[in-house]
């Protein structure tokens, strides 16, 4: 069964701006999906439907096969944890600790469990020591980390991340990617990410969807997607840097295949050189 499914999902902002236009999207439990697309393509709008923050203008969103309604909305939000693009949309409590504890508290967990989850989440994003700071007085990257910790602490079945690495330093970004992959591998959590950083796409997704002007216009493995240059070009995206280099070498007549991650590229080049 699909854990998330949208049927002909359309969203029109204030009767004028069609941000989503007949989206049919499905995610199976345990998948790792990346959604890429130009600015204004509709990624964030789509994500806000996954936990019922926005309501479809037409069409349907099904979570575990059930349409979102006021009856099951709390369950939906427990199942699907969305980290918004702008951390200011997500943090509001007077201290970092209270902010991270807010979700678990609402789930009615025991104080010990809450304490434990808060500690673990803050460790994960390396914010231990920030417990008593005011979240709105942090640097942008630190805010982002608080927002992520707040959702991690709820242990959702599906983790939806809107530009999780924007504003994080490279060290923090790599750590987050590693964490996301571990959550997927060991806990079976479904991961859906929107990002502009195409270089990390091969690292955190097995499936890539391309959005353009409110429609999904491409869906496949990273290899399939990045092998169709017109599609990429049309949507203001680019290939991962590694792939660009391999392509440039191909053009110069070097017999290499196009690769997307550093390790693969190294091996491919070693093959050619030796």
């Amino acid at each position: 069964m699909n854990i998330i499914e949208t049927r002909e999902l359309t969203h029109v902002y204030r009767g004028k701006i069609t941000a989503l236009d007949g989206i049919n999207f499905t995610a199976k439990p345990g998948e790792r999906i990346a959604i890429i697309g130009a600015n204004g393509a509709g990624k964030s709008t789509l994500f806000k439907h996954f936990n019922g923050i926005l309501k479809p203008t037409s069409g349907n969103v099904l979570i575990k096969g059930e349409s979102i309604s006021s009856k099951n909305i709390l369950d939906v939000r427990r199942t699907v944890g969305v980290v918004f693009q702008d951390p200011d949309d997500q943090i509001f409590a007077p201290t970092v600790k209270q902010d991270v504890a807010f979700g678990p508290m609402n789930l009615g967990l025991s104080p010990d469990e809450i304490e434990k989850r808060v500690r673990e989440s803050l460790e994960t994003v390396r914010l231990t020591g920030f417990e008593e700071r005011a979240p709105h007085h942090l640097s942008t990257g630190e805010k982002k980390k608080v927002a992520i910790a707040g959702i991690l602490a709820m242990r959702p079945e599906v983790l939806v991340l809107d530009e999780p690495t924007a504003g994080l330093d490279p060290g923090g970004a790599m750590r987050l990617i590693k964490l996301i992959n571990e959550m997927n591998r060991y806990l079976g959590i479904t991961i859906i990410t929107a990002t502009h950083e195409v270089d990390i796409v091969p690292l955190l997704a097995d499936r890539v969807c391309i959005m353009s002007r409110g429609k999904i216009i491409g869906d496949g493995t990273p290899l399939e997607i990045f092998s169709s240059p017109e599609l990429i070009k049309k949507t203001h995206l680019r290939l991962p840097i590694v792939a660009q280099l391999m392509e440039m070498l191909q053009e110069e007549g070097v017999p290499v295949g196009v690769k997307f991650t550093l390790e693969e590229a190294r091996d491919e080049l070693l093959r050619v050189v030796k």
Binding site: R77, D88, Q90, F92, M105, I151
Partner: protein
């Protein structure tokens, strides 16, 4: 049910003959109509005809302004309850300035419904309705910024204009912050009647919500203000005042309004 400022602003940017009229003229027109309506005698059944005429005139103007019906309905629905309350009491009261009452019904507990009271209630409600219509017309056909600059040209003090502009700007900030905080709470399953959490904790959260609403709006407002300063703004700068001249159609509309009021007053028809 509420209407956001954005929706209000959207209507004000429509293009129509009414929207094109000079802001000063519109303000004066609105004031003239309101003052006339309020000045009508307290107890005079002819009032209703005069007020009816004004209301029809205002509705015609609204049609010329091409305002959406659903929008207007919403505006009225929000405004009316405020005035309805006191008017609804009138038939049961003995107004001190009326000498003789004709009792229509007597309800239990000795409450009496009088014809004069009812008439007075209807008249004040009609006055209220005309005033509200005038205000709705004005606020739907003039953007806030133009309202301020027009009022400036009509003699509103500089400080008031500045603070008024700032306030309107910060309305968006505040509204936005309220929205953000609500979204943040919703995504994390906050619900007032949640039985799984202690009542005390929920109340505390409401307190935090209100304080962070203010503190964060203030800080956002401060940052926004600083970025305005960065772009060369300074508090002493005059609110931008256009030098637009009053044109013939503007005068024409003002004249029509005066004629309508005149017709109402002297019962030409």
């Amino acid at each position: 049910m509420h209407i956001t400022l954005t929706e209000l602003e959207r209507e004000t940017y429509r293009k129509s003959p009414i929207h094109r009229i000079d802001g000063r003229i519109k303000i004066l027109m609105t004031l003239a109509i309101i003052v006339y309506a309020v000045a009508l005698p307290r107890m005079d059944s002819l009032d209703l005809i005069k007020l009816g005429l004004l209301e029809v005139y205002l509705i015609i103007l609204m049609m010329f302004a091409r305002l959406e019906f659903s929008y207007l309905a919403m505006r009225f629905a929000i405004a009316l309850p405020f005035g309805l309350g006191i008017a609804a009491f009138q038939p049961f009261l003995k107004q001190p300035f009326i000498q003789n009452f004709t009792i229509l019904y007597t309800l239990p507990l000795g409450i009496e419904v009088s014809r004069e009271g009812a008439l007075f209630g209807i008249i004040i409600f009609a006055k209220f309705l005309v005033c509200i219509s005038a205000v709705i017309l004005l606020s739907s056909t003039i953007p806030m910024s133009e309202l301020v600059s027009s009022a400036r040209r009509l003699g509103l003090p500089k400080e008031l204009a500045l603070l008024f502009t700032m306030m309107v700007r910060y309305l968006f900030v505040f509204w936005n912050m309220l929205d953000r905080i609500r979204t943040a709470q919703k995504t994390r399953c906050f619900e007032i009647w949640n039985k799984n959490v202690p009542r005390k904790w929920t109340l505390e959260q409401i307190g935090y919500t209100i304080s962070s609403l203010f503190v964060r709006s203030y800080e956002q407002g401060e940052r926004t203000y600083q970025s305005m300063l960065c772009r060369g703004y300074n508090a002493d700068a005059h609110v931008y005042v256009s030098r637009k001249k009053i044109s013939v159609p503007d005068i024409f509309v003002l004249a029509i309004t005066v004629v309508v009021i005149g017709v109402a007053q002297f019962r030409v028809i």
